[in-house]
Symmetry: C2
Subunit: 415 residues, 2 copies
Amino acid sequence: MSETVTRIEIDGAALLDRLRRLGEIGALEGGGVCRLALTDADKAGRDWLVGEMRALGMAVSIDMIGNIWGVRAGAEEGPPVMLGSHIDSVATGGLYDGALGVLAGLEIAAALERAGLRTRWPLAVAAFTNEEGARFAPDMMGSGVHQGALSLDAMLSVVGVDGAVLGDELRRIGYAGDIPPRSLTPRAYLELHIEQGPVLEQAGARIGVVTGVQGISWTEVIFEGQSNHAGTTPIALRRDAGLAAARLAVEARAIADEAGPPQVATVGAIALSPGLVNVVAERATMTVDLRHTDDAALEAAEARLAEAAAVIAAAEGCRVKLRSLARFAPVAFDPALVDAVEAAARARGLFCRRMPSGAGHDAQMFAPNCPTAMVFVPSVGGLSHNVAEHTEPEDLIAGAQVALDVVLPLLEPLP
Amino acid sequence: MSETVTRIEIDGAALLDRLRRLGEIGALEGGGVCRLALTDADKAGRDWLVGEMRALGMAVSIDMIGNIWGVRAGAEEGPPVMLGSHIDSVATGGLYDGALGVLAGLEIAAALERAGLRTRWPLAVAAFTNEEGARFAPDMMGSGVHQGALSLDAMLSVVGVDGAVLGDELRRIGYAGDIPPRSLTPRAYLELHIEQGPVLEQAGARIGVVTGVQGISWTEVIFEGQSNHAGTTPIALRRDAGLAAARLAVEARAIADEAGPPQVATVGAIALSPGLVNVVAERATMTVDLRHTDDAALEAAEARLAEAAAVIAAAEGCRVKLRSLARFAPVAFDPALVDAVEAAARARGLFCRRMPSGAGHDAQMFAPNCPTAMVFVPSVGGLSHNVAEHTEPEDLIAGAQVALDVVLPLLEPLP
């Protein structure tokens, strides 16, 4: 790493202006955006982004899954330092989820240009296809294919919630590129993103130093008991699937409480059948979302959940079936790069806090393959995937500044 | 009461044959019936019933809410002894729920005819409109209007789940009669019904001596918390409406367990919003069904539920609203008539058991106005409101025999 102590400043107004302009593409009445992956709105956002990259003198490439990257050349060829995120959104998304990371990358490239700074290594700014997974599952698709975690052919065949085939839509909007997967592993990967949670705001911190991404375990639990008349069936003779589900939901919270942070557990869906006021439920279908930064701890939580489900089912005379809906191991970011984020924030006098990411991000696809880290900025009220999502302008700018300060030495500025 | 010790026998085959024939009207493929109130199938059942009454020489009357009754004259005019129930069904009903009480009444009238027995008082056999409430709410409508607990005009205006207006449907099927409500209070009312629960089967009893009807309290509980990302929101910062609902469902069972029988508590419906695996629920809507034979005990259970809801909501940072959906005070049947049912069962060598009814029945509308009781026969597996509902033929016949034995002295047979 270079010993250069070059300092370059972000043009905050330029960053905010680009965020505003991208936010006009797919804008919803009353606020927020809808740029579902590979729709016309996504295409318009992509076209605008490519235009901005070219205006900054960057060389633009499109790969076979539609990822876009613009490269500011270095003095030497070779792996770039990459800043990236995504510009697709959920159906009722905010202006900064994803867009901030991409447009901060553009502003960093612009700042280097303005400073007339040459660097040893190239700077790449990437926008990954379909991070949200709102139209086509799974999420983090473009970065997953890019880094070899997902199969290109399988992803091109994915059918969206609207019946469209992903590969067809890529061609339709003109973003089926020719660069194969795994053709580019950056020297390092840094992603700036809104937190999408309340931790920074609650802590009064302006920068989140992201240490990794929590492991995620989604389980569907189905209890099967017996439908009975709520008036005529004594308690002792019941096999109440709804009660079993309620007990397991309470137990899921106990798992989180007893393990303590960062263990979280959420029962977001419970459906009882037949679902009538005066009928004991015959069947209960519920989901349990468990997350932890440590895989052994996550496995322990999963084991305890399964054990609790079995005990609860037996006590209520129900059958129980568990099915894994999703399982991602925790990702740890590069300790040196994480330290660099923290040091950069402190050097700018920004109160920061180390934290894991509770949500998935493109960065986790890079973590196994190159030094990777993330920078979070606060989400007002913790709101996310919501048109009311908001981050204060000074925090957007501060995040971009920290990102620039972190990547600058990695780029190795030349005198 | 007469000292006559006349004994008359039910013709079991005739009873079963009538049950079979009514069961063919509105029959579902694979078993069970659908005779929702005031549909064409209900009309066909009514027409058949009226024909059977007339064939037995009974005088048929229809009142303004469509109740049908056939009267076998007594030596004196004056209030009849009434046997009744209903012939409407839920959408996937069994053959005996309601039909048994009406057709046992017919068979009792037929048995008196066969025996050539004259009685001092008339015998009335009634089929009440819309006992089930499956198409038009509330349930027990015909008997409720008949006995003055419900307003005729209000009930005629009720709009069904299919948009039909009850009064229009009554006219359409030709059962808008001209006899006003409260025109007939019987000398005594007895209703034979299937148990619709597992108590008799579990006890090995063949006759249920019904002491009254449990009080019913239905409450809708809505918890409002905050929708949050399941990964990014620490447990300590959550306001999880789904967890609050689960805790209250567990507490409802605890209320029943701690009070002991006959207290029952059921959470048959829970709906979480937005209901997604990775989103903390913002809103939970649930129902709680509490029943007890003692009104003070039921009030205590309601108070404890409300208190628990408030405590749980406060602990989770949620708001909570409770709304009463239905409230019926417990009904106690006439002690002398209840004793008579027990004595009749014992005299026939039928093992019997005293029990409250957990379900509502037309009989409860009569209980405030005349001596009233019920006879239950076992439901195999406790199944009810189910095409697989079943009662063994010998139990159907035994129930009818007990009903005959109970009403015979009330009718005061003449020598």
